[in-house]
Amino acid sequence: MTPRLRLAGVAWEVGGRPVLSGVTFDLRGGEVAVVTGRNGAGKSTLLDIVAGLRQSTGGDVRLDERPLAAWDPRARARVIAHLPQIVRPDLPFLAGELVLMGRYPHTDRWFEGDEDRAAVERAMRRTHCWELRDRLLQTLSGGERQRVLLAACFAQEPALLLLDEPSTHLDVDQQMHCFSLLREESARGAACLAVTHDLNLALAYATRLIVLADGRVALDASIEDAIRSTGWLSLFSPRLTMTTTAAGRAWVSYS
């Protein structure tokens, strides 16, 4: 299987200061890759480049073997969905209207068809926000709004999901649900690239861990390997250790 996404030596700098350099990896359908790293390591910048929101200043980004910059935005939006880190809270739209926007790349019709409505309902039920569909976004709590945004990404039915801190504002139960949905997406063949600071969520649900440090890939390993050799934990803090829970799960704890 050819990789969905292929990054080779990707760099991004602003004002002569390198934010990313030499970022190289492939991503295939079926993978849930978590990108993590300390603040300012370049995680969001990396996601923005893959989403087409920033033009890399060096290197090569390919989506389905074609240079990303050669993609028409609409064709690209049928393949990639991007969950932004922040969306302003005072949006005047209904939750259902926002999720419907995920269907825009798929249809030229002025008003949505039955197929679009079915995709919206499916996506909103999956992220537990169908009952919020007629609520104004500005009246929702942070966690409710995050579930609606996630639903908008799922309604786009993408082959590549880019999620910038998808578990923000979610309670613990919804955080686990959110990452289990990413596993479902990968099971149907999609590739997921998610930024998170929650290492334990990553160990429990991801298939792969990519750690950025100072704009470079410091670790790119399967979750099994990341659990076996734990040197990368020192990239975050000297106080982290890998332990095993009573149920036999790997667990990062701090001392």
Partner: protein, 329 residues
């Protein structure tokens, strides 16, 4: 979902019916009562008053109000700021300065077009370029700095208008001040025809892209990752919004309030989906301006209150009341 998303579309039909009814009925409102029987027989003076004076003026009001309200809805989507209007961005002041300049220099025609149209369009384009240029930081537009530079442009243009006002003859200063008040006048049908064509083209370009304006109203990055050409879209939005504003201001003078109040009311009462919001704002803005003009014709007859003044007097308190209602709810 199906009910809630389809239902607001019916409002477009309701607004369209009221819009057409306004065009048919408002010409009969005025200081001189017209007899329907005499009009039907094409008898004078009723027939001429209706067709030459009141009908053209009502049609101008319907289209001018529509153009300004649509431009307001458009700028609010592009800038994601409820306060963005042709007026607050300084575009309407730039058009005013352009129009006043051509009155001052006594220009009648430029390239076969009415000089006021050309200079108003030029003035709004220059102001827009300056305002956008001043607000541009690292290729990103902050709506706050855009509104701030719009405010600055407003002051500068007003100052220049005052300077020109001091330079002109008495008759010119009368026509400038008459024009600056902002109101509707009888207009010849050739000019009206040209106005209809420009507004129809610009409005249909804007409304056709309603789904893209929905995306832009969320965030440019949201729009880009849902298939919109953001730069192209932003440029075409500024261009269409400026054209709508400039040609309208050239014919009516600056009428500020309609671009703020109408999109806001439609958004809070009907919804923010631009496929419904934009047609409703256009139709509603036209109805409101034409109705305010009709009120202005009779409320202090035989003297007239300009439509812009009627709108501000009635619309200002109403907008505040709506905002209060919402904050209580």
């Amino acid at each position: 979902m199906s009910g809630s998303s389809r239902h607001p579309a019916r409002w477009v039909g309701v607004f369209a019916l009221v819009f057409i009814a306004s065009g048919l009925l408002l010409p009969f409102v005025g200081p001189v009562a017209l007899s329907a029987a005499r009009v039907r027989m094409h008898q004078e003076p009723d027939w001429s008053i209706l067709v030459q004076l009141r009908l053209s003026r009502t049609l101008l009001g319907l289209l001018a109000g529509g153009a300004l309200a649509l431009a307001g809805a458009l700028f609010q989507a592009v800038l994601r700021d409820a306060l963005a209007t042709p007026y607050t961005l300084g575009i309407s002041a730039g058009a005013s300065l352009g129009a006043v300049t051509s009155i001052w220099l006594g220009w009648q025609q430029v390239a076969g077009l009415p000089a006021i149209w050309v200079t108003a369009l030029l003035g709004s384009a220059v102001v827009l370029a300056l305002v956008v240029g001043a607000a541009l930081q690292q290729r990103r537009l902050s709506s706050f700095s855009l509104l701030l530079s719009g405010l600055a442009a407003n002051s500068v243009c007003s100052a220049f208008i005052i300077v020109i006002y001091g330079l002109v003859s008495a008759s010119q200063s009368f026509s400038i001040s008459r024009w600056l008040i902002g109101g509707l006048d009888a207009i010849d049908y050739v000019t009206l025809g040209g106005f209809v064509v420009v507004v129809a083209i610009a409005a249909s370009i804007v409304i056709r892209q309603a789904k893209s304006w929905n995306l832009m109203a969320v965030d440019p990055a949201w729009a880009a990752t849902r298939g919109a050409h953001v730069t192209r879209l932003t440029l075409s939005g500024y261009a269409a919004g400026s054209i709508l504003t400039a040609v309208t201001v050239a014919l009516t003078g600056p009428i500020g309030f309609v671009g703020l109040v109408v999109p806001h009311l439609v958004r809070t009462r009907i919804g923010a989906d631009h496929r419904v919001l934009m047609p409703c704002a256009f139709l509603g803005g036209g109805i409101l301006l034409a109705a305010c003009d009709a009120v202005g014709r009779i409320v202090m007859a035989p003297s007239e209150v300009p439509a812009g003044a009627v709108m501000a007097i009635l619309g200002g308190p109403y907008l505040v009341w709506v905002l209060r209602q919402r904050s209580i709810a």
